[in-house]
Amino acid sequence: MAQASPSTVNPLLRLWRNEDSRGVIIQILTMVVLCALIAAIARNVVINLANVGKEFSFDFLTWPAAYDIGFSPFIEYTNKSTHLRAAVVGLLNTLLVAFWGCILATVLGFILGIMRLSSNWLVSKISYVFVEFVRNVPVLIHILAIYSLVVTLLPSAKKALDVGGGAFFLSNRGFYVPAPVFESGAGIVGIVILIAVIMAILFKRWAKRTQNETGQIYPVFWISIALIVGLAGIAFLIMGAPLSWDIPVLKGFNFKGGMAIKPEFLALWLALSYYTACFIAEIVRAGILAVSHGQTEAAYAVGLKSNRTLQLIIIPQALRIIVPPLCSQYLNLTKNSSLAIAIGYMDITATLGGISLMQTGKEMETMIIVMGVYLVISLTISSFMNWFNHRIKLTVR
């Protein structure tokens, strides 16, 4: 029987028979199929859009938006601005609610998680019932419920509750507070505060070095606070108190002046925060329970006090477990903020992905931008959390 010598076998077949190269070939083929699929979808989109007579183009971003946005705290926006500017207003509103939502959710989540671990039966059960109730109801229901509570429970603007000396008003049009007005000289106070913060950071470094060398511990936190508050206070008085307040006053239909927290923002912020906090509470509980009790006993055995034990032994170890899942909760909160339009909070989904889409008929283009925006926000949060996770992870020496 004629045995084919290796050199006469088709070289492609030889590659296929080699396990390593076969793996590479399969990967290449998969990539080709995947790319072909994406290309087919993209081609279909263009053809189908052309069939209904629509051109795929982002030109509409420069057209005037023609609609008004009720809540644009950061940049000037009128109905003569472009769709792009409307999108930016929406983006900033999304970031605003996501930022404050993550902070409040973290604080509430840690409180609920620690309450759940309390040895007090009532405290622990309150946390348990709250967490189980909240996280088993869809977040959209929470948002709508909180919003109707805010809007129906609070009085109208004309009967607003005066909750603080004729300067703080609570109504279903929003929570009105005095706005700070900086006068000349306020900039110098700001510079002094900055200097004080830098001094506090330098002091902290010095204190740590001293502790490493001599064992002497300084109350870094209190000294830093005293440094910042003290210096800022002295500068403020020397400059002749360069700050006044713009107090909200009821004029006509609504309050004029001051700053307002709108009920739409309030409802969305609260609902997203306590909903996400319930998931964070469980993560915190898991993290703390995962640190063996032996660690505490060992810390006590070497003479650490209980607050130092918590600060130096328990929390650093618990954080290693808490941070990765915490990151996904931040991502969830940010993405859930897209439900804002249900109650009329103008986030990016409501402006670009809602009204602009509607007025221009550019479904494909607006959806691509909105998806891109959420992707970028989410990836940014992820990379920040990855950096933080890397910083606190176990250092193997």
């Binding site: 979808i41 993209a42 279909n44 989109v45 053809i47 189908n48 859009l49 069939n51 209904v52 007579g53 629509k54 023609a66 609609y67 008004d68 946005i69 009720g70 009128t78 109905n79 959209l140 109707s148 809007v151 129906t152 109208s156 603007a157 279903n172 049009r173 004029k251 006509g252 239909f253 609504n254 004029k256 009920p263 739409e264 897209s338 439900l339 339009i341 249900a342 109650i343 009329g344 103008m346 989904t349 409501a350 992905g353 809602g354 009204i355 889409l357 509607m358 007025q359 221009t360 008929g361 479904e363 494909m364 959806m367």
Partner: protein, 339 residues
């Protein structure tokens, strides 16, 4: 949430080519399916609303039924595809619905930019303002600084912006997804003013606990000709929708009603005979059976009957014919001749 899903689904549908963005053949599709799918609103009293047993009714739904009567011979064979102001065109353009009967204003950008085909006007409307009487406001010019509730995705928000800026007034827009939630906000006092088309205001006012406490301000700030829409690219289907609307109007003009339509078949008036399919072949030219208009009038009624039954003066909405009277009676409702 829902509208987002729809937008994404439609985007996906566009991508995968799975939809009936058929260039022609909507008539064949509907006839082989046996059901006409109409894009309607999520619920506006008198115009499109399901009753207690879930059967859809109202002014717009009756026109949908008229279309089904013409195309399928049975006005009951409809499916209501509900849509918010934001999702309606996407649903139509992605092929989820065959025709849109949904309080939709005809505008240049929708006709040209959104690529819709409009087929005439079935309701002449205009945007107005509703306020609580206790507010003591008598004109829209007094509304400087007010909070205004609007439903998003409508021409309403653009008219509102134009009106306030051209009068040099400021306002706080509270933009809400659906009519119902906008109404709740108005009721609870989150807004001073609720604005939408005057027909919608009448509808909303009738649904409030004490309609007498609220008033519609005299200013009408826009032209809102409402009418049906279809997709670009199917001329036969466009013709059918156009002439369904015209048939109801012509029937009223000629005095043909659901109760006398059988007698009218024996009429000597040649236009009545053509309309009802006794003479001529207008039905088959449209691709329908020759009694298509007879079925519309018999099952649903003429324009006036549809109007009075759903939104007329004897209904809770109590809307007078006004601009929507026949041209012969001082209104704008006018149909080209059946000839």
């Amino acid at each position: 949430m829902k509208q987002k899903t729809t937008a994404i689904l439609s985007a996906a549908a566009l991508a995968l080519g799975a939809t009936g963005i058929a260039q022609a053949g909507t008539l064949e599709d509907v006839q082989s399916r046996g059901v006409l799918r109409c894009v309607v609103s999520t619920g506006i009293a008198g115009f499109a609303q399901p009753d207690a047993s879930g059967v859809w009714g109202g002014f717009d739904v009756d026109f949908c039924r008229a279309t089904a009567a013409a195309v399928l011979g049975d006005g009951g064979k409809i499916e209501a595809i509900t849509s918010t102001g934001k999702t309606r065109f996407t649903k139509l353009n992605a092929g989820e619905g065959d025709v849109l009967w949904r309080n939709t204003t005809i505008t240049f950008s929708r006709d040209v930019g959104v690529k819709l085909r409009f087929h005439g006007v079935n309701y002449y409307d205009g945007q107005g303002f509703m306020v609580k009487k206790s507010l003591g406001v008598s004109s829209a010019k007094d509304l400087d600084g007010a909070s205004v509730c609007i439903q998003t995705g409508t021409t309403t928000e653009l008219n509102l912006a134009d009106y306030f800026s051209s009068n040099g007034m400021k306002y706080e827009p509270v933009t809400i997804e659906t009519n119902d939630e906008a109404r709740q906000n108005y009721e609870s006092g989150r807004c001073d003013v609720y604005t939408t088309d005057a027909s919608g205001l009448a509808s909303t006012r009738s649904a409030l606990p004490n309609p007498g406490d609220h008033m519609v301000l005299p200013e009408i700030i826009s032209k809102e000709p409402l009418g049906p829409a279809t997709r670009h690219g199917d001329d036969q289907w466009s013709d059918i929708v156009t002439w369904v609307l015209n048939a109801t109007i012509t029937a009223e003009e000629l005095g043909v009603t659901s109760s006398n339509v059988d007698d009218m078949k024996g009429s000597n008036n040649p236009e009545v005979r053509r309309l009802l399919g006794v003479d001529g072949s207008q039905g088959s030219e449209l691709g329908l059976s020759n009694d298509w208009a007879y079925q519309i009038i018999k099952q649903i009624g003429n324009y006036g009957e549809i109007f009075e039954r759903n939104i007329g003066v004897n209904t809770p909405l109590g809307i007078a014919r006004g601009l929507n009277a026949l041209w012969t009676e001082g209104g704008l409702i006018y149909s080209p001749p059946f000839r």
